[in-house]
């Protein structure tokens, strides 16, 4: 049995951020990961010789001086060659039945481009972008301003996106465009906290980057850094219980029966999982347990990973294919027999994407309940009716894209797909959800769970506690680790580093 300053459960970007930050500050850390490889949703995999990513398609605020760049740099895990700037003239391409809109990098250019599509809405577009930039300044872990006005950030997290957009513009097509990024975290516009939306939009418009060698490369750099700072990351260590003794977790037990002790335990797992691991939950109130039990999930994802020939797509662009530009329709849950309302296409940024060959993934929302009947079947051995259902879903995803890219299906050379059950198998996320719990105004800001818990030395971190996405999950660890090492000095150092970059 070995003792550490901090034990970290899960090696997704939040667990790795916690470990890198704490070990940088001289703490001894040990990361316990259930799967055979580190990275969580950041992990890449190979199929038919091509490299694909699960949940690391693109990230924002990655230019020098911007928050994510600064944070990774601060943690000693930023390698310029690992990232590739997306097309500045249009990194995201939004396809709507009425036409295509390319979003360029930078607020001024973005405003100009949108104004060219919506000439009578110039004022609304300007106000919208102004509000976004003002709002993000109030988030200390994003602006790195320790004196940021938390009243304002909490308010922005209590305000639904629709409540901000509707007074600005009555044009449904412009509203639909402003809501398009809700497809990234699966929270409907009426539930999306404006503060969360503002950070997503700000980060992507200012510094959109892809991964030149996949998310795995960033994971590898993190692990090397943690090890260089004396920490360790252990794989195949599924945590099965947190032994509570008095006010604290006294031991962390793995499936193999190993027992670890630490001053602090940080869990990056979903609250339902984390609190379910406690051997004694009598310190939790009935009210809290009810809240956790009732937390809704962000919904599952169906992904097709494909290689095509003769497809004229720019590897440095993402595509959002919408079946409708009616803001009320675009995030209505659809059935498996309907065309998906939105398909997100992300191209591989690796050098393999050359000439007419294109490697990419297509994502669409698909609730866990569609797959639940196969939950007890094993990965790799699922029955034929599951496979037939997947074929049907793949066909509907292609159909959604073909509306804008006729003949796509005929260009596909090879493809495989994954369902929420695959995510459940590899990641253990509740209901195989891609973004953890449903990040509505109901579950964010002043109402969020964590990072502290009733068990005094147990902290929580990751996408379930602050914001979803790699950036959100990573900065959530600043708040979490702030309870161990103090957040103010870290924010000051980050601010200074950002200003120097």
């Amino acid at each position: 049995m070995s003792h550490h300053d901090a034990l970290i459960i899960g090696s997704g970007i939040s667990g790795l951020t916690s470990a890198a930050l704490l070990s940088k500050k001289g703490k001894s850390v040990l990361v316990l990961e259930a799967y055979s490889r580190p990275g969580g949703y950041m992990h890449s995999f190979r199929r038919f010789g091509e490299l694909f990513d699960t949940g690391a398609h693109y990230v924002g605020s990655m230019c020098p001086g911007q928050p994510f760049h600064t944070l990774l740099n601060y943690l000693g895990v930023y390698k310029p060659e690992a990232f590739v700037p997306l097309n500045p003239d249009g990194f995201d391409v939004f396809h709507f039945p009425e036409g295509t809109i390319r979003l360029p990098m930078g607020f001024d250019r973005a405003a100009q481009e949108l104004a060219s599509h919506f000439p009578s809405e110039t004022a609304a577009i300007k106000s919208y972008f102004d509000l976004i930039q003002k709002t993000v300044a109030h988030f200390p872990t994003y602006s790195f301003d320790g004196d940021a006005d938390m009243t304002r950030s909490l308010e922005a997290l209590q305000t639904p996106l629709t409540q901000v957009v509707e007074p600005l513009t009555q044009n449904p097509r412009l509203q639909a465009l402003f809501y398009a990024y809700c497809g990234l975290h699966g929270v409907r516009p009426e539930d999306t906290p404006f503060g969360l939306h503002a950070i997503v939009v700000d980060s992507l418009i200012r510094g959109p980057m892809g991964f030149s060698k996949g998310g795995d490369d960033l994971t590898k750099t993190f692990v090397e850094r943690i090890e260089a700072q004396g920490g360790r990351v252990l794989m195949n260590r599924k945590v099965v219980s947190l032994v509570v003794n008095g006010d604290n977790v006294s031991e962390v037990v793995t499936e193999k029966g190993e027992r670890f002790t630490a001053d602090w335990v940080i869990s990056s797992l979903h609250p339902k999982t984390t609190f379910g691991l406690l051997t004694d939950d009598s310190r939790l109130t009935g009210l809290f347990k009810d809240r956790v039990r009732q937390l809704p999930e962000s919904g599952g994802m169906y992904a097709v990973y494909a290689r095509a020939q003769g497809l004229d797509w720019d590897p440095l662009q993402n595509h959002y294919f919408f079946d409708t530009s009616d803001p009320k329709e675009m995030f209505r849950e659809r059935g498996p027999d309907e065309i998906p309302a939105m398909v997100f296409a992300s191209l591989s940024r690796t050098s393999s994407n050359e000439g007419g060959k294109k490697v990419f993934s297509l994502h669409s929302a698909s609730p866990y309940k569609w797959f639940e009947r196969w939950k007890d079947t094993k990965y790799g051995k699922r029955p034929d009716d599951y496979k037939a259902f997947k074929d049907k879903l793949t066909a509907r995803v292609f159909a959604a894209v073909e509306r804008y890219e006729p003949g796509l299906a005929a260009k596909i050379e090879s493809q495989v797909s994954s369902s929420p059950l695959s995510n459940l198998h590899f990641n253990g996320s509740i209901e195989g959800s891609g973004y953890g719990l449903y990040h509505s105004i109901q579950n964010t800001g002043a109402r969020a769970i964590g990072p502290r818990t009733k068990i005094l030395n147990l902290l929580v971190t990751g996408q379930n506690y602050l914001f979803p996405g790699l950036l959100g999950a990573s900065i959530s660890s600043l708040r979490t680790c702030g309870h161990i090492i103090g957040i103010k000095p870290v924010l000051e150092e980050l601010k200074e580093l950002g200003e120097r970059s």
């Binding site: 938390m150 009243t151 909490l154 308010e155 209590q158 109130t285 009935g286 009210l287 809290f288 009810d290 809240r291 800001g445 002043a446 109402r447 969020a448 769970i449 502290r452 818990t453 009733k454």
Partner: protein, 87 residues
């Protein structure tokens, strides 16, 4: 606080019910002057309280006010203020 309107007794009752059932506090301890700390409630419980009050009454409580709550009377007042604002 003295010049504040008296809080609607049914609101007080509902909050007391929450304290008794959600936080397992003996009803006899639920007097307005009771310090939350003495009742065994900390800042994490204040978050659960906020969530409960918001959902129960369909209102929004200003999150940053949570840190200034000291006594049960403060909770009544905060809830009453949010209810009257939402009207």
């Amino acid at each position: 606080m003295l010049n504040q309107d008296p809080v609607d007794p049914s609101l007080i009752q509902q909050i007391n019910d929450l304290m008794a059932s959600g936080f397992e506090i003996p009803p006899e301890k639920l007097v307005p002057s009771a310090a939350l700390k003495e009742l065994g409630l900390d800042s994490l419980d204040a978050v659960d309280m906020l969530v409960y009050i918001e959902d129960k009454f369909g209102i929004k409580v200003e999150g940053e006010k949570l840190t200034s709550l000291r006594t049960l009377q403060d909770v009544y007042n905060l809830a009453a203020e949010a209810v009257s604002k939402s009207k």
